[in-house]
Amino acid sequence: MSSFSILVGKLVRGASRLRGGGSALPGLVVEKIDPDFIRRTLSTLPLGVAVVSGTNGKTTTTKMVVELLEGQGLKVFTNRTGSNFTRGVAAALLGEVNLRGRLDADIAVLELDEAHAVHFVKLIRPRYALLLNVLRDQLDRFGEIDKTTRLLEQIAQATTDTVVLNREDPRVASIADSLSSQKVTYFGLDASLRSTFPNDDEMRGSRSEAIAAAQPADVVLTRVAETEADFLVDGSPTTTGLKLRGVYNVFNAAAALTFARQILGTRADRTKLFESLANVEPAFGRGESLTVNGAPLELVLVKNPSGFRLGLKSFAAHGYATMIAINDNYADGRDMSWLWDVDFETLSGGVDMVTGVRAYDMALRLRYDDVPVREVVPDIPDALAKFISGAGTQPMRIFCTYTAMLAVRRELSKITKVEVVS
């Protein structure tokens, strides 16, 4: 029965790839005919399952954790396609198991969407969990930020060994209070960097007194520069070069380092960990750099106010042609009010193009921050063509919501080399 379901799954996977379809369909098929497939397969891994969750930065952080562990010689299974639901995990597994259902890996490192992770951990309890943050994100799907915190808490409670928490996020840090049998470790920021990372409670300078700075952290980010950063690991300082861009990505490097150190324990080779970290390339749309007509073009995915604020702070606007693409499809979140929780003053030099289904909401937002907008073209392909020809040899940067980014990539793939994700 199990080899049969794996065979069927692999066939569906092959067929849906030919069709260019979504990554979760074959997983759905296996889920229907063999619901125990994921649990049975993952339970054979010697180091078990490590889960990464939180509202922001899961994809990049998971990628970092995987590369850090691989750099230490571990074989790692992961759900690389970004299909972070149970079904997506099943689909990814199908690509890796042999027909007897054996997975040739030491550990699974999985990115899980916070709502779906709750179902996943009921199926299989993770040995390690890394919880990144609870930022205002797609609230129309989950209702409230506090509810999202409860979801992450359930993941932590289902974890059997170690939970790694963000010391700087009051909601995530508070999860420690609900844990008794798990080991809890933190990653954190130096006090000098805290003002760079506002959380949703302390927008507009009304600082929350709830910053839990008293806890010691395993890895602390102490300085961020253009192409390097300083970390304090277990009290001792290290400077490393980085290919990652954006301060929030670099903070997530502290999370990934802490998580990898917990998983590896005494086997961790610190020099090699930093070598691996220095070589991590950004995940798609997370500050990755492309070349179009000989000029550099950066894509920055923005999903919520904190991410947008950090994105604007991370990337200096001066000297760049800027485009903003805002959609309100289901995957983006239908509610546009989040744009009003972002300051756009860093773009005071002007935005060259505003596009997307909600281009006029965005343009209106910029108008109220006194940011000049040169052109508004709601149709993304038209807007992109005009933007690129208008930019000439200037470097370009595009801030885009999730589905807007998919549309931008589809257009870019016609003129340059870019991974198209459907």
């Binding site: 289904v357 006029y360 909401d361």
Partner: protein, 246 residues
């Protein structure tokens, strides 16, 4: 001579979600562009309440935020009621809309007293009402926004609805009312933020505030304001919003 208008933002630390800050920003900028000088005070629990407020703005919040402000709000209740009775313009959204009513009864049956500025009552429900809303008001025309609340609000005889819902749920899933009006108080469930895409409401609040303070409303647009371009952008944002799914 500078013509100051004092805006007080109620509880921005605890009751400020889904872009409520945008409402204050819109009032501030429109006042400036119309030749007035906006002064904004953020009022948080324990602060002294300004005695010369011209316009009061309050937003929504998490359940935890409502608990934090409860005691302070009750202490402030008599003066807020007096100011509302006296015609001071106020805009309250979502969470503070509920608390400006008579009471909020949670889904678990806990009774949270309101401050009774508005003759409304709210009952916590099992489901959240979420999505784009289009409503129509005799005073302000079409109102565009986004709702996200589990409280079901019902109007008493002394409150009028702000608008009637065409798309979405509004105050509750039983009738077609959205928001409430009392004197110069405008209350609504709509985020969006409400004022950027509904400038008629913003200008109503501004007109009331200015008239109360200076006896007449005489906007003098500043040189670079380009209010026609702003009106065009607002209209385009409204018409695009109107065509989006719930």
């Amino acid at each position: 001579m500078s013509r100051d208008i004092h805006i007080v933002q109620l509880y921005p630390r605890d009751m400020n979600i889904y872009g409520d800050w945008g409402n204050v920003l819109v009032l501030k900028q429109r006042l400036k562009w119309q030749g007035y000088n906006p002064v904004v005070t953020e009022y948080n629990p324990g602060d002294g309440f300004p005695s010369d407020a011209d316009l009061i703005v309050g937003g929504g919040g998490q359940d935890s935020g409502q608990v934090v402000i409860q005691q302070d709000l009750q202490a402030l209740a008599p003066s807020l009621r007096a100011m509302a009775d006296d015609g001071l313009p106020m805009l309250v959204i979502c969470g503070l809309y509920q608390l400006f009513g008579r009471f909020f009864k949670t889904h678990d049956g806990v009774l949270i007293p309101g401050i009774g500025v508005l003759d409304i009552e709210t009952h916590g429900g099992p489901e959240r009402l979420i999505g784009n809303v289009l409503s129509v008001s005799e005073e302000f025309g079409e109102i565009h926004g986004y709702e996200n609340h589990s409280g079901q609000t019902f109007l008493g005889p002394d409150a009028n609805p702000l608008a009637r819902v065409r798309k979405g749920e509004g105050n509750n899933s039983k009738d077609d009312t959205e928001g409430a009006r009392y004197k110069n108080v405008v209350a609504s469930y709509l985020h969006g933020s409400l004022l950027p895409k509904n400038p008629a409401i913003a200008d109503f609040l501004i007109e009331q505030a200015v008239t109360r303070r200076y006896g007449s409303y005489e906007p003098v647009p500043v040189a670079d304001a380009d209010l026609a371009e702003l009106a065009r952008l607002s209209e385009l944002a409204r018409s695009h919003a109107a065509n989006r799914p719930r």
